[in-house]
């Protein structure tokens, strides 16, 4: 693995905002990702009760006019700077991501500082936003593959950690502008916010500019979240679709925890690439489906393996049976060295290739900082991967796949039987 050529800088401002940046040689672009801990989970914070979908509605409202600019002027200003951007609420964070040519990054950040700190909150925008969010929920109903993952996360993670950012039609229909303002007031805070920047940057200039732009942002107490139990562990959602969607989740190690790399290895070997076990057994050998995979999702306090397949009604039972048999085989018999080497090669290559894109790098910097309070150097990751052995990963796989801890959800015309191999 070649040595990392990039330099990573970090700075924590007085209000608690953290800037973490990487100057990337050989790129013309620069990208930023601002993570604010104001995702859908915080809608349920004590004393807030903002309603399902509030985080998403607020995110949309913020960009419809801020500082000196109304909504149209604001979006045009971003266009003038050639900024590709996306703003969205996820479960934990509200995320503001932007990419442009290096010279235009600081002017773009000026606009995002307005968006986060000085939204206009024009009430005329509320009904259009409500209509948009309600339609997004309807479109999600028409997209069974995405729908089933939202439903799975909601059942698997203890509330509010699986809360779907699109919310519910019932809540979106009734949320008042005042509730959105209150949510902004309580949840949008610099303490806990992380700005990741990568690409063609001048560090001292960036550090000073960000300091000035976000200086007026006042820290606030962290909203208190109350956890509720997850479930149900087995469920079916009836829909008249061509295919049955099968979605499963199992608890897995956290990003910061000692078992992180073992968890990533076990999940990847199960379903992370084309010669992984699920793809081989379900698709290549039996032709049961087009799409089947397993992936890892990390949160600070918990992690999970998420697993998916979509297939025709008459072949769905066999698909589920084969998937469960593969879980069982992995837990019982573990992994071999060749599989582990393949997994290592794939993950290392992805990490190095991510160095070519300022967009993926800025997201990774912010995410590393959120989970670890630092950025993991490439050689540290490579060393941790190299230290894995078939025995260590096999031991972990045994703990990963316990039938009574699995959440299993199907969506389609008919439910399936869950038969664990003996």
């Amino acid at each position: 693995m070649p040595a990392a050529t990039a330099t990573i800088h970090q700075h924590e401002y007085q209000n608690g905002l953290t800037l973490v940046a990487e100057a990337m040689p050989g790129v013309q672009s620069a990208s930023c990702t601002l993570l604010v801990p104001a995702g859908a989970a915080y809608e349920a914070a004590e004393g807030l009760d903002a309603g399902g979908g509030a985080a998403t509605m607020l995110c949309e409202w913020l960009t419809r006019g801020a500082g000196d600019r109304d909504g149209r002027v604001l979006l045009e200003a971003l266009d003038d700077l050639g900024v590709s951007h996306s703003e969205s609420a996820q479960t934990i964070h509200a995320s503001f991501a932007a990419a442009t040519l290096g010279a235009n990054l600081i002017p773009a950040l000026e606009i995002f500082a307005d968006v986060v700190l000085r939204p206009r909150f024009d009430e005329e925008e509320i009904e259009p936003i409500r209509s948009l969010c309600l339609q997004n929920l309807r479109s999600l109903e028409d997209d069974p593959g995405s729908k089933v993952i939202y439903e799975l996360r909601e059942r698997h993670f203890p509330a509010p950690w699986g809360r779907p950012a699109p919310g519910t039609a019932e809540d979106v229909a009734r949320i008042k502008p005042q509730a959105l303002r209150a949510f902004h007031q309580a949840a949008y805070r610099p303490n806990g916010a992380i700005l990741g920047v990568a690409g063609a940057i001048d560090w001292p200039r960036l550090r000073d500019a960000v300091g000035e732009l976000f200086d007026a942002w006042r820290p606030r107490p962290e909203p208190k979240l109350v956890e509720a139990s997850a479930g149900p562990g087995r469920d079916h959602v009836t829909r008249e679709t061509q295919q049955i969607q099968i979605a499963m989740a199992a608890p897995a190690a956290t990003v910061a925890g000692p078992d992180y790399y073992r968890a990533r290895a076990a999940v990847a070997i199960l379903g992370g690439y084309s010669s992984a076990r699920l793809f081989t057994e379900v698709r290549e050998k039996r032709g049961l489906c087009y799409s089947v995979y397993a992936s890892y999702e990390g949160q600070r306090e918990r992690g999970a393996m998420l697993c998916y397949a979509g297939t025709s009604t008459e072949r769905a039972q066999e698909t589920l049976d084969v998937m469960l048999a593969e879980f069982h085989r992995l837990a019982r018999r573990g992994v071999d060295l060749e599989e582990l080497d393949t997994m290592r090669a794939g993950l290392k290559s992805s990490l190095i290739m991510a160095q070519e894109s300022s967009m993926s790098r800025s997201g990774a910097l912010a995410s590393d900082w959120y989970f670890l309070g630092r950025v993991r150097p490439l050689d540290e990751i490579a060393a941790a991967l190299d230290a894995l052995t078939p025995e260590s990963v096999s031991d972990y796989a045994r703990a990963l796949l316990k039938p009574d801890e699995l959440t299993i959800l199907t969506l389609g015309p008919t439910p399936l039987d869950v038969n664990f191999p003996a």
Binding site: Q28, S29, Q242, F279, L347
Partner: protein, 413 residues
């Protein structure tokens, strides 16, 4: 700095490379001029099915070995089939290029075994069913068929459950023999690599390939501008795809066409965005430009509530007519250029992004387009050129296909 190289092997296979020492990886790909427009009606979907079958094994590897040999060197591999091309590609670290390329070149000469063919048939049918659950895919396929009619550009890429079920391995072998000849394929590389080494690898793996130079039915296409409403009671939203003719990829007007589509229908801050999405009339409204060999199209995409459909179609018509009557402004054009230029730079920073631009350009134009020249071509577009384009390629009326819970809808006049 980047360096461009080009060579033609004795059997007609062309090899191109844009090399850049600053890259961390290298992308490699075969561009095969074979897509749904090259298919006879009874073989609907054979190009895409063949793309799947190439990964199912060769004289030296079975399907599991193909996947394993890519994965063991961390190569990210995939393939796509369109109306006109099948593109096989991977990205790897430079030191793993030789073993990964060995697999990619190997699979371009697949065995197409009977039992693999029958297993993979089931996967293709699952893929078709997956897209049948997606209203936008259903509307897109139907709109192309309605617009292009008997012209082969109206053919479905995936085919149908019926055409795939009826297909025989022998038909696919004949199709392969007719389209996968070396003179119909371009091999491209982009990223960090050494030209002499790449060319030697290409010669070593591809020089024994044989076959004739196939032709394509590339008569110009003109759309039929029809209207269709397909009932899907299970859907919640109404989905519409519209098609109007546009300049072909052979025309230099494609830059103006791309900018026009950005001004009118980019996903953010375009005229359609302000007319439909910002006010909450629709949760999606876009226009994009697609160029083809001797044809082109402006595609409109709309997702809205069934009750809003007729009003939204009127709004779409108004945006198109307004542009036809008055053109676009200098400020709009300047803004669209900024968007397009910045996106091209971002895409070009990844070797795979460069390889795709570079390769498709070479396949149809036999020339090298450095990113600076592509950006300059966008910069040169004027509002007068956009106005002339709109005169030559009117956006309205367009072919419209609506899919969703209501079929009771009248198209706007």
């Amino acid at each position: 700095m980047t360096r461009f190289h080009h060579a033609t092997l004795d059997n007609g296979l062309e090899v191109i490379a844009e090399l850049n020492d600053d890259a961390h990886s290298i992308a490699a790909g075969f561009f095969v001029k074979a897509g749904s427009r090259d298919e006879a009606p009874e073989l609907a979907g054979v190009s895409h099915f063949l793309e799947h079958m190439t990964f199912k094994g060769t004289a030296r590897r079975d399907a599991l070995t193909v996947n394993r040999d890519f994965d063991r060197v961390g190569a990210k591999h995939n393939a796509q089939t369109s109306e006109e091309d099948t593109f096989y590609h991977f990205t790897s670290l430079p030191e793993y290029l030789p073993p990964a390329f060995d697999v990619l070149a190997d699979i371009l000469r697949p065995t197409l075994r009977e039992d693999d063919f029958e297993t993979e048939k089931k996967v293709i049918i699952e893929e078709i069913r997956m897209y049948m659950d997606n209203p936008m895919s259903v509307a897109y396929e139907a709109a192309k068929a309605a617009h292009f009619g008997d012209h082969p550009l109206g053919n479905s890429i995936l085919g149908t459950v019926e055409s795939i079920t009826a297909m025989k391995a022998a038909d696919m072998r004949a199709y392969f023999a007719s389209r996968y000849s070396p003179a119909n394929i371009v091999l491209g590389f982009a990223g960090k690599g050494d030209w002499d080494e790449l060319l030697q690898l290409a010669r070593g793996r591809c020089r024994d390939w044989t076959g004739d130079r196939p032709s394509r039915d590339a008569r110009p296409a003109r759309g039929r501008l029809g209207f269709q409403a397909l009932l899907r009671e299970e859907d919640q939203q109404q989905t519409v795809v519209g098609v109007a003719d546009g300049p072909p990829l052979e025309s230099d007007d494609r830059y103006a066409a791309h900018l026009l589509a950005t001004i009118l229908g980019d996903h953010t801050s375009s005229r359609l965005y302000w007319a439909l999405v910002d006010p909450g009339h629709a949760d999606g409204a876009e226009i994009s430009y697609q160029d083809y060999n001797q044809a082109g199209g402006f595609y409109a995409f709309l997702s809205c509530e069934p009750d809003a459909l007729e009003d939204d179609l009127r709004r779409l018509a108004a945006v198109c007519r307004e542009a036809m009557d008055r053109g676009v402004t200098e400020a709009e054009l300047a803004r669209a250029k900024n968007k397009v230029l910045s996106r091209a730079v971002l895409r070009g920073e990844r070797p795979m992004g460069r390889l795709a631009s570079l390769g498709f350009h070479w396949v149809y134009r036999r020339s090298y387009l450095p990113i600076e020249e592509e950006l300059a071509a966008f910069s040169r577009v004027t509002v007068d050129q956009v106005r002339r384009l709109l005169g030559e390629w009117p956006l309205w009326p367009m072919t419209l296909v609506s899919v969703g819970p209501t079929a009771d809808v009248q198209p706007p006049k």
